[in-house]
Amino acid sequence: MKLYYYLCLLLVCCLPISITARDDGTSGYVKGKTHTNNWAVLVDTSRFWFNYRHVANVLSMYRSVKRLGIPDSQIILMVADDMACNPRNPRPATVFNNAHQHINVYGEDVEVDYRGYEVTVENFVRLLTGRLAPSTPRSKRLLTDDGSNILIYMTGHGGDGFLKFQDSEEITNVELADAFEQMWQKKRYNEILFIIDTCQAASMYEHFYSPNILAIASSLVGEDSLSHHVDPAIGVYIIDRFTYYALEFLERVTPDSTKTLAEFLQVCPKRVCISTVGVRQDLYKRDPKTVLVSEFFGSVRSVELTERILDIPKCGGKGKVAFNDSQGEASTKENVKKSLQRKKLVYANQLPISYTK
């Protein structure tokens, strides 16, 4: 009788273990990171003073992404209007996301790649698909490869199935989905985290069909995304709710933190955001609970320590580390003079106006 009891207990204990083991095998989630570098594309699509909050949104994201480590050469920042140096700005050269001026998101070294009227649907799609004119400088290109994780953040005025660019044109969700598919076919990304903070934002990710995209929208179809608060000195709303709480979350993240994407997905519950945050996870094969926030917002490289270096035969003369005292000064001065006399100064070949075949 007792034996029977104990056997039953054992069985009951073993059952959940076997279930979870089977679950891991068939859940289909891919573990471990697979990216080698990080890029960010941050887009603000609206201009004019009353859209101050959109510029503050995108600069908040820029600030977080830069603070967590992604270098400027791998951030494409598209801002449609200049709020910091706008004549209506009572605090010039600053953009705050808070009426009490807690954080100046404009910072001290902001590098805007596409500014003002350059922020158009065509430029955006050209940037994503890589079909740029040959004379486009490197800072305006998205030079990703198959190991790049890209963070794409878009903000502005949106509607059901479109996002308005600069009051004159729109990008539809079909065009965006096609652009991502072109990127996927040419293996220009490993994973994309797509965040959009507009009204009816969830409609923008409805038509995605390329794999490895995790999409977060600040509101569902039929809902409006709301702004957070007004700054009386500026006179308009200065930040949107979703981005305000997202920034609050990201401010607590350090480059080596272990916060996961699952926590980021919960950053704006309905009681603070009023609109419902929409998430599209079916194209993303990894479990957000195992993905770190720094895999998209930061730039943590995998590093391999070199165990041994090759034994290369020595060439030529100067070898050992040496440091010279006073004689060194004289000799280096002579060397410098000699090298200056020998070298003929020429202009560098700076204009890439033809395709290098």
Partner: protein, 542 residues
Amino acid sequence: MKKEGEGEDREGALAAAGFAVVLVLVGLPVWWYTTTVYRATLPYATIEQLSHQLRHHTVGLDVVGQVRASFKDDLETKLESMQSVKFLLTHRLPTREEQTLLKSTHQSLSDLDLNLSNKIHVANGNLAVVVMEEGNNNNIMDNSSVIVGRQRIIFVTPNADLGVLASVVRGMVMDVLASKRAHVARPLHQLPGQHKQEAMRQVPTEPGYDVTLTLMVPEPHRTKVNWDAKAAVDEYLGPVVRQLESVAVVSVRSQVLYMTGLSVTPEWSPHHQHYALPHHQLPLTINAIEAKLGSFVWTRPSLHFVVYVPRENQMPLVIHSPDGTPLTTNSFLVPRWGGVMIHNVPPVDNTNTTTTAAMSPRYLTLDSHWVMSTVITHLHHLLPIPTLKETPEVKLLAPTSPYQLTEWQVDALARARVSAYLANIRTTLQSLCELVGEISNMVISDEVGGWVWGAVEEWGECGHAAREGRLQEATLYCTRSFTQADAAFFHPSMLALLYFPDNQKYAIYVPLFLPVSIPVLLSLKMVFSLFKKGLKSKVKED
């Protein structure tokens, strides 16, 4: 009265018929011709056919020497398992000159290797296996059964294990992991363990790379570094770059970066008497400096090699591995990006210097050999240059200066790159065809058409050359084809956004044609009814 009414009706009918005729016979063709876009014809069928062709490399393997009869067949069976490479084995006895060389007793293996390579003339992309004589020159083989030469010859003892020889040949021909990867062509996240690590480390296959050597001196007022970078590059990197010219164009530049340091917080280790930099601080070190490295003009993939001279108050700085031991090489590799090495300088001799002397900057010269060895090691890992593991059975002859790479290494690299190119070109051209098919009114200019035709032709030639074992030609064809295919795919006019998709055609043409066609169609009804009446009246009359 009736006649007049009839006449009017008839006139009306003729007018309506006239309108309809003009609309159909003149309007439709004019509309058709003025709205066709110029689309250069593309070789869709050829692309389809070439995509499904199985690709493999052929390597000729020459066995030279006196061997038992089953040697060649056994070796052939053992080599069959390699998926993307087919071997063509031939066997011949050595010629008299070769025999004299093999028999001569007073020479080292490297001399034998050199002389034999001149005599045997192994073609580019092939290998030769030379079987040493029994009982002769026993000490030349140094107690191992397989020795790999510097060019394309493998020396084996007659009773060597064929399995070992087969694995050596497989490793020499193409990096085993790379061959599996190219055969399957899966994206990164679907590759298993070691494949993924290898694929994540090596740079993407492109025709050219930009190598930038950066010397970082964070405190130039304390340390004046005198390093003749040009001479170091010419002496050490120059030969490697020249050897790789047939495979990839590498352009090397160097720069010195002042007043920038790595933002690390090392701890003084009294046990080792140096500042210890734990390995977990390394992943975030290069982010701050990355924006300052590299060119802002070229769009080729770039590799950065950084030589860091630590700050005065952090000197000497040594990286510690996870188990706490200091790393002798003091350098680390960042996959797909480059490498960083920390170059420490000897400590300042504080005993007999006055304060003013201590404040003045000290001049120092870098150890070029150490720096360039590290750079070349990192470059070998990144490209990647295939290597073989040395065991007691298998040994490799070390390369001699100035040739750092052996011929078979360059061949293997070329082969791996050709496989990668072929897979890449296939996806590019297939994707392009899909895009062009989807948007039926996308303009295909002559420029793009020319590139696609060129790319397809050379793609076919490359596959052909690879199957026949002509490796150098295959590399050339593939590089050109890849460049052309990419130029066609990324041409600014291929943007789908610029053209109306098919489902928007109705939205454009309906408002245009419907207001015009409705009256015409309705008046046609009138024409037909009149025509029928006319027929009926004729019948009546008859």
